[in-house]
Amino acid sequence: MTADVPQPGLSTPDPPTSAPVRVGAGPTLEVREISKRYGDTVALDRLSMTVGPGQIFGFVGPNGAGKTTAMRIITGLLEADSGEIRWADSPIDPGQRRQIGYMPEERGLYPKMRVDHQLQYFGELHGLDPATARDQTAIWLDRLGVADRALDNVEDLSLGNQQRIQLAASLVFEPELMILDEPFSGLDPIGVDALSGVLAEISRERGVPVLFSSHQLDLVERICDAVAIIKEGRLIASGTVEELEEERSQNVWFLHLDGPEPDWDPGLDGVDRIDRWLFELDESADPQELLTRGQSAGDVVEFGRHRPRLTELFRDTIGEER
């Protein structure tokens, strides 16, 4: 890892040995070796990751991997057994935690309270004066396309609209850091686009780091600058999506041929056929030889290095730990 290239995520589960590299302006969130046990169950085991300013950071892992626990520790709802949460290069304090826009997994709104009153309330709780809270409420309701529901009770809204209000509640006080637990679950594609659009905007506009967990890996791949994959409380892989894909794709090549039998094999040393058109090469093998063999077996439709999708990465990394 070189110092001049921005590397906000860590590519190995090892704890960081140097200060996080800053990307752009604004503070960085650093999770440093946090551990948490519930009785005999280890929920988090020395988890470390770094979310840089303006970065959209996807947090993925199987159910029960410790994502929610980690997020609750960042927001201060839970205390870690060890390790620390750092913000702007020093341990986070309660005042800074108050500036976290948090969206809990099981959502949190008063069902019988009016949408506008609710958002104003959260704005004022986070220190806005009443007039600013009203203005911000109007701005966010408008921006999320739910301005016409301002006077309704939350319980009378559709699930998608409730989710928009939930997001508005975490944005209304202009947070400096966003922690969102499964913000996209249960949303239709239009809702997903609206929410991800807003997240992209606030991270770009104000340099707010956004950390969110999701099971929708294609979505994470599409909108995230960086991801962390965790399993059983431990970091399995972390880095930008490109980095991770690069890292895992080094020796796998894609060769699509028109002509040969389905079980065609190039018969080269150091080349393993791992799928119909996928070949894994070891250091001694030359991809050009693979191409030459292919050309003699049929017409080459497509040839190139295979970059696995995040979904495959996820399956691979989780699988190989098993």
């Binding site: 927001t75 709802l77 809990p104 959502r107 959260f122 509640a169």
Partner: protein, 393 residues
């Protein structure tokens, strides 16, 4: 943000949401109508404009005095019914039992503590008129002089305390009932509000912004103020109806009862509001809340039973215990005060004990609430609670 600003915001939200809720409006209207109706019924049964007074006659010149009183009383709508008794003591015990309101015969007139003042005045005047008339006539004074002397004299009656104090029994019953209802409604509002915040996870967003103690304080204060306003409305509706109809002779202790009821609602709700908040914080789902609010409810029902028994015998040891035992005092004290049987030194001691109990419980509730409010899952046991608070989080 300052702690008081945070509590203020939480309290304002409770007040605004409570006032918006249909349940609150309906219960307020029903209670106001109920108490006004009670006042109307009392005034209707209290007489059709004429005050009727049962007077015991135990010796001459009782009957003559009652006749005189009826002649004078007709102008002020007071009517006296004479009943014969065998001797002064028999008449006195009838007054104590509440069968009659006054007795005349040889010696000073006897009058119940709660006899209407205008009726007693008429009876007194009749008695002194008869006495003077007789003695002056014996002395041979002319009729005209007798009249003028009689007009300046009076012989006051001896007041006899009745068993039910000065007639505040009805007021005491009503005050106790509405206080009990107010504490239950508001207490339940606190516990269900706490559970709602937990079950919807809203509490996780709020605790992200303000401390659990500020949230607890705001919630109890907000709901308490709304309850106090409701109680004030009920008092105004009851007393106001009685005054407008003008036919009810409110006992002298009414104002004191109303003031004490409001004071003890504040103290009682500080106590019960915190207890209900802790009970709510111990569960995560509305369905489970009865398991933890149950014990608090039992205390409150106990307080009500004690206050009813204190109405029966306001000086009993149980009544004194109820006055000095903070969980019972909020209902027992106003009941005894209304019945006119609360010694001032017991009231002062009761207030001091209440304030101490509130201070201790508020502090304890703050710690318990803080430890329990973010915990999800099955209802907590007392043992878990103690362990959690002991760990100091």
């Amino acid at each position: 943000m300052s702690s008081s600003r945070a509590s203020f915001l939480a309290a304002r939200r409770e007040i605004r949401e409570r006032l918006r809720s249909r349940a609150y409006r309906v219960s307020t209207v029903i209670q106001v109508i109920a108490v006004a109706a009670v006042a109307v019924v009392i005034s209707l049964t209290g007489g059709d404009g004429t005050t009727k007074v049962e007077v015991g006659v135990f010796a001459p010149p009782g009957n003559e005095v009652v006749d005189l009183a009826n002649r004078a009383g007709a102008t002020v709508d007071v009517e006296f019914d004479a009943r014969s008794f065998d001797g002064r003591e028999a008449a006195r015990s009838a007054i104590v039992k509440g069968d009659i309101e006054a007795a005349v015969g040889r010696g000073p007139t006897l009058a119940a503590g709660d006899i209407p003042e205008d009726a007693l005045a008429v009876l007194d005047r009749a008695r002194s008129t008869w006495d003077l008339d007789r003695s002056l006539a014996t002395a041979g004074l002319p009729r005209s002089e007798i009249q003028s002397i009689v007009a300046t004299q009076s012989s006051p009656a001896e007041r006899v305390e009745t068993e039910s104090g000065d007639g505040g029994g009805g007021i005491a019953f009503i005050a106790t009932l509405f206080l009990y209802l107010a504490l239950i409604f508001c207490g339940y509002a606190v516990s269900s509000g706490v559970v709602e915040e937990k079950s919807t996870r809203v509490v996780e967003l709020i605790i992200n912004a303000i401390t659990p103690k500020d949230l607890l304080a705001g919630k109890v204060i907000g709901i308490g103020l709304v309850g106090l306003a409701q109680l004030l409305l009920i008092v105004i509706a009851g007393v106001g109806t009685a005054l407008v109809l003008g036919e009810v002779n409110l006992p002298a202790s009414t104002a004191e009862t109303a003031a004490l009821s409001l004071l003890y609602f504040i103290l009682g709700f500080a106590l019960y509001g915190c207890a209900f908040a802790v009970a709510g914080a111990m569960v995560s789902r509305q369905e489970d809340s009865q398991t933890t609010t149950g014990p608090v409810m039992i205390l409150l029902v106990g307080a009500y039973i004690f206050s009813i028994s204190a109405l029966g015998d306001a000086d009993s040891g149980l009544a004194v215990f109820g006055t000095l035992f903070p969980p019972f005092a909020p209902l027992v004290v106003p009941a005894r005060a209304a019945a006119g049987a609360l010694p001032p030194e017991q009231l002062v001691l009761s207030v001091i004990l209440m304030v101490i109990a509130c201070a201790l419980l508020i502090r304890l509730a703050g710690r318990v609430y803080e430890s329990a409010v973010l915990r999800m899952g099955s209802p907590m046991t007392i043992r878990q609670l103690v362990a959690l608070v002991g760990a100091g989080r």
